[in-house]
C-alpha cells in the first residue's frame, strides 16, 4: 500500500541514479535523519548517550568498514581490534601534538593513518586467501596491540601505560574529556556516522564497489575480465581501515576517554565487529547498522531483564549473554545466512504487494 514504485517516475538521470530511487525509502531516510538530528539531541541524557547512542554510532562505523572488506571484497579479517587501536593511538598522538587543530581533522587524519597501516597488512592478501588470510590478519591484531603496549612513545611515556583524552573543543564546544555535554558528543559521532554511511554507500554502488564484488565472487575470473586484483584488494583494505580507524579514534577520544590497549582493542573486539556484520548482513550498509544496533542493545536489555528485574548476579548474566550471542550467530547462519538485512529485503518484497498479494 505504501511501499511501491508504481507511479514514481524519474525524469532526469540524476533522479534515476539517486541512492533511494523509491519514494517511500527516501522519505523514511529523511525522517530517520530528521529524528536523529533534530529530536534525539534535545531529549538525551548522559546515560542514554553513553550506554546506547555512542556505542551504536561508533560500532556502526566499524561495522561499515569491516563490511566493505568482508562483505563486499570477500577478504576475511580478524584484525579489526588492532586497526581500531591504530586509529585511537594516531588520534591520541595528534591530539597531544597539535592541541589547536580541530578534532574533525584529527579524527580524519587518524583514519588516513589507519588506512596506510591497513593497506600494508593487506599486502599478503594478494598471495594468501580464505582462512589463511583470516589467520594472517591475526598477526596484525596481536602485533599492533603488542606494539602499543611496549613502545612508550605511543602513550607519551605515561606511567600507567594508558592513554587518556585531553579536553578538546570544536567550534568552541567541548567534545572530549570528562566535562562534555551529552548532545555534543552525540552530534559529533553522528556526523561521522552519516558521512561514513554516505561515502560507503556511494563507493559500493560505483565502479570501485563493483570491482570489489567481482573479486569477492571469484578473484581469478575478475582478474581475467580486467579487474586489477592488486588495486581492488588494497583499496578495499585501505578504505575499510579508514572507517575502522575513524571508529577507533572516536571510541577512544569520545566514548571511553581513557584506554588500555589490550583491554579495549583485544581480539574480542575483532570478533564483536565480525558478529555485527554477520548478524546484520554481509555486503549491506543497512545490515551494518542493524547488526551494530542489535549487539549494542542486547547486553543492555539482558542487563535490565537479568540484573534489575530478576536480581541475578552480573556474572551469570554475562555468561548467559555469551550463550545467547553464540546461539544467535548459529541460528542466523542456519536460518538466514544473509542476516537482518535480508529479512528487511524480504519484508520490503512483501510490502510491495500488501495487502493484495495475488
Amino acid at each position: 500500500m505504501f511501499y511501491r514504485e508504481a507511479g514514481d517516475f524519474s525524469t532526469t538521470y540524476a533522479e534515476d541514479q539517486q541512492t533511494f530511487p523509491i519514494k517511500f525509502d527516501r522519505y523514511r531516510y529523511y525522517v530517520v535523519l530528521f529524528v536523529a538530528i533534530f529530536v534525539i539531541p534535545f531529549m538525551v541524557n548522559d546515560y542514554w548517550v553513553n550506554s546506547l547512542f555512542l556505542p551504536f554510532l561508533i560500532y556502526a562505523i566499524a561495522a561499515i568498514g569491516l563490511n566493505i572488506l568482508v562483505g563486499y571484497c570477500g577478504q576475511v579479517s580478524l584484525g579489526t581490534g588492532g586497526f581500531m587501536a591504530v586509529g585511537a593511538y594516531a588520534c591520541y598522538k595528534l591530539m597531544t601534538a597539535m592541541p589547536d587543530v580541530s578534532m574533525f581533522i584529527h579524527i580524519l587524519l587518524a583514519g588516513v593513518i589507519t588506512a596506510a597501516v591497513g593497506a600494508l597488512f593487506g599486502l599478503p592478501s594478494l598471495r594468501i586467501k580464505g582462512f589463511y588470510l583470516a589467520v594472517a590478519t591475526l598477526a596484525a591484531q596481536f602485533f599492533l596491540v603488542w606494539l602499543f603496549n611496549r613502545v612508550p612513545w605511543f602513550y607519551n611515556y605515561s606511567a600507567s601505560g594508558q592513554i587518556s583524552a585531553p579536553e578538546r573543543d570544536t567550534f568552541g564546544i567541548l567534545i572530549t574529556g570528562p566535562n562534555t555535554e551529552a548532545w555534543a558528543t552525540y552530534m559529533f559521532c553522528l556526523i561521522f556516522t552519516v558521512f561514513s554511511a554516505l561515502v560507503a554507500r556511494n563507493l559500493t554502488r560505483g565502479s570501485v564497489g563493483r570491482k570489489w564484488m567481482a573479486i569477492r565472487d571469484m578473484d581469478i575470473a575478475a582478474e581475467i575480465i580486467g579487474v586489477n586484483p592488486l588495486r581492488a584488494k588494497l583499496t578495499a583494505f585501505a578504505v575499510s581501515s579508514f572507517f575502522i580507524g575513524i571508529s577507533g579514534a572516536l571510541f577512544f577520544s569520545i566514548y571511553l576517554g581513557a584506554v588500555e590497549v589490550g583491554e579495549a582493542f583485544g581480539i574480542q573486539k575483532s570478533f564483536l565487529v565480525l558478529f555485527m556484520i554477520i548478524i546484520g548482513g554481509l555486503g549491506s550498509i543497512f545490515g551494518s547498522f542493524a547488526g551494530a544496533a542489535f549487539l549494542v542493545l542486547l547486553p543492555v536489555l539482558l542487563k535490565i531483564v537479568g540484573v534489575d528485574w530478576l536480581g541475578w548476579p552480573t556474572d551469570i548474566v554475562a555468561h548467559l549473554q555469551l550463550v545467547i550471542v553464540g546461539g544467535l550467530i548459529i541460528i542466523f547462519l542456519i536460518a538466514e545466512p544473509h542476516g537482518l538485512a535480508q529479512l528487511w529485503r524480504v519484508a520490503k518484497e512483501k510490502l510491495r504487494l500488501w495487502p493484495f498479494p495475488h
Binding site: V135, P313, L322, V323
Partner: protein
C-alpha cells in the same frame, strides 16, 4: 660448555615441549578439517570445556549450581563426593561424545554444503556458546586440575646434564609426560586412520563426500565420530594445559596459537601439524630469548607465531605439507 650456548639449548628444549602441546591442539583442527571441511575455531574452547567438566566431575560440583541458586534461591554447590581421576576422565569423554552428537545434530547437519567461511563463522558462534555454557555449568573462577601427573623439575636430567656439561638443564616433568602422551596420541590416531574400518571410512569421507556416500559410508556417523575424536584430543590437551597453568579462560586462547601452527604445516596434514607445532614452539621461545627479551621489550611470544606464519605463507601459500592449491575459473 659456554653458558650462553647451554641456555640456548635449554630454551630450545623447552620450546620443543611447548611445541608438542601446540601440535596437540592443532591435531584436533586437522581431524575435523580433513573429514568435513570445517575449520573448527571452537577447538580451544572445547579443550577448556573438557577441562572444566573434568574438574567439576572430580570435585563433585553440581552443574549449573549458580543458575539454579539464582532462580530457585537455593544454596547447592557440591554433591559432597570426589570421583577418582580415571573414572572422571571416562565420564568427561562421555560428555564430549554427547557434545559431538549435539553439534552434529543441531548445527552442522543444517549447514552441509555451505561455503567454508560460513561454517567457520558458525564454529566461532559455537565457541562463544560453549564458553558461556561451560561457565554457567561450572563457574568461571580459576580452578586447579590435579589428575596425578608428575610436576616440577626433572631431577635426573638436571643431575645428568650437570655432570656431563657442568650446567643442569631445567625441564619440567609435566612437559615430558605431555610429549610422550602426544606422541602416543599421534601414533594412535594415524594407526586408527590407516588400519581400522572406521578410519578408512573417515579417510574416504575426507577424500570425497559423494563417493563415500555411494559406497555406503554413513556421513552422519563419521562426522559424529570425528567430532568425538576432536573432543578426545581436546580433553587430552585440556588436561595437559590445565595441569600446567590452571583451568581458566586463557586456556581457550591456545586455539589461536594453534592457527599459525596449522598454517605452517598445512591444514590437511597430520605430520604437518606436528612439525608446525615444533617449529612454532621452538621459534617463539628462541626468538623471545635471543631477540625479544634483550632488544624488543619482551612478550614477543604473543605475535611471533603469527608473523612467522604470515611471512612463510607469502612464499608458500599452502603451508609445508599442504596439498597444492589449484584454482580454476
Amino acid at each position: 660448555m659456554p653458558e650462553q650456548l647451554a641456555f640456548t639449548i635449554e630454551v630450545f628444549m623447552n620450546g620443543l615441549m611447548a611445541g608438542v602441546l601446540y601440535a596437540l591442539v592443532a591435531l584436533g583442527f586437522v581431524l575435523i578439517y580433513k573429514a568435513s571441511g570445517i575449520f573448527n575455531y571452537a577447538q580451544g574452547v572445547m579443550a577448556l570445556f573438557a577441562a572444566l567438566t573434568l574438574v567439576g566431575i572430580m570435585e563433585g560440583q553440581v552443574p549449573f549450581s549458580h543458575l539454579i541458586n539464582a532462580i530457585l534461591g537455593t544454596e547447592v554447590h557440591h554433591f559432597g563426593w570426589h570421583v577418582p581421576a580415571f573414572l572422571a576422565i571416562v565420564l568427561t569423554m562421555v560428555v564430549m561424545i554427547v557434545l559431538a552428537y549435539c553439534v552434529q545434530r543441531f548445527v552442522f547437519r543444517y549447514l552441509v554444503g555451505q561455503e567454508p567461511i560460513i561454517l567457520f563463522m558458525a564454529t566461532i558462534g559455537l565457541a562463544y556458546f560453549l564458553e558461556g555454557v561451560g561457565d554457567l555449568m561450572w563457574g568461571s573462577e580459576i580452578k586447579t586440575l590435579d589428575v596425578g601427573l608428575p610436576q616440577g623439575i626433572n631431577v635426573w636430567i638436571d643431575e645428568f646434564t650437570f655432570e656431563a656439561t657442568g650446567y643442569g638443564f631445567f625441564i619440567d616433568n609435566l612437559d615430558i609426560v605431555a610429549s610422550i602422551v602426544a606422541a602416543i596420541l599421534v601414533i594412535g590416531l594415524v594407526m586408527f586412520a590407516q588400519y581400522t574400518k572406521q578410519g578408512r571410512a573417515m579417510r574416504a569421507v575426507a577424500d570425497d563426500h559423494q563417493a563415500a556416500l555411494s559406497v555406503g559410508v554413513s556421513l552422519n556417523f563419521i562426522w559424529i565420530l570425528v567430532w568425538s575424536l576432536a573432543g578426545f584430543v581436546a580433553l587430552v590437551a585440556g588436561i595437559m594445559w590445565g595441569a600446567k597453568s590452571g583451568v581458566q579462560f586463557s586456556l581457550s586462547l591456545i586455539a589461536l596459537k594453534a592457527l599459525p601452527v596449522l598454517m605452517l604445516g598445512g591444514f590437511t596434514s597430520i605430520p604437518g601439524a606436528i612439525v608446525g607445532g615444533l617449529i612454532i614452539g621452538v621459534g617463539e621461545k628462541l626468538f623471545e630469548f635471543l631477540i625479544g627479551a634483550p632488544f624488543l621489550g619482551g612478550a614477543t611470544e604473543n605475535w611471533f607465531a603469527y608473523m612467522l606464519a604470515l611471512v612463510f605463507l607469502v612464499f608458500r601459500p599452502q603451508g609445508l605439507f599442504g596439498e597444492k592449491i589449484i584454482e580454476r575459473v
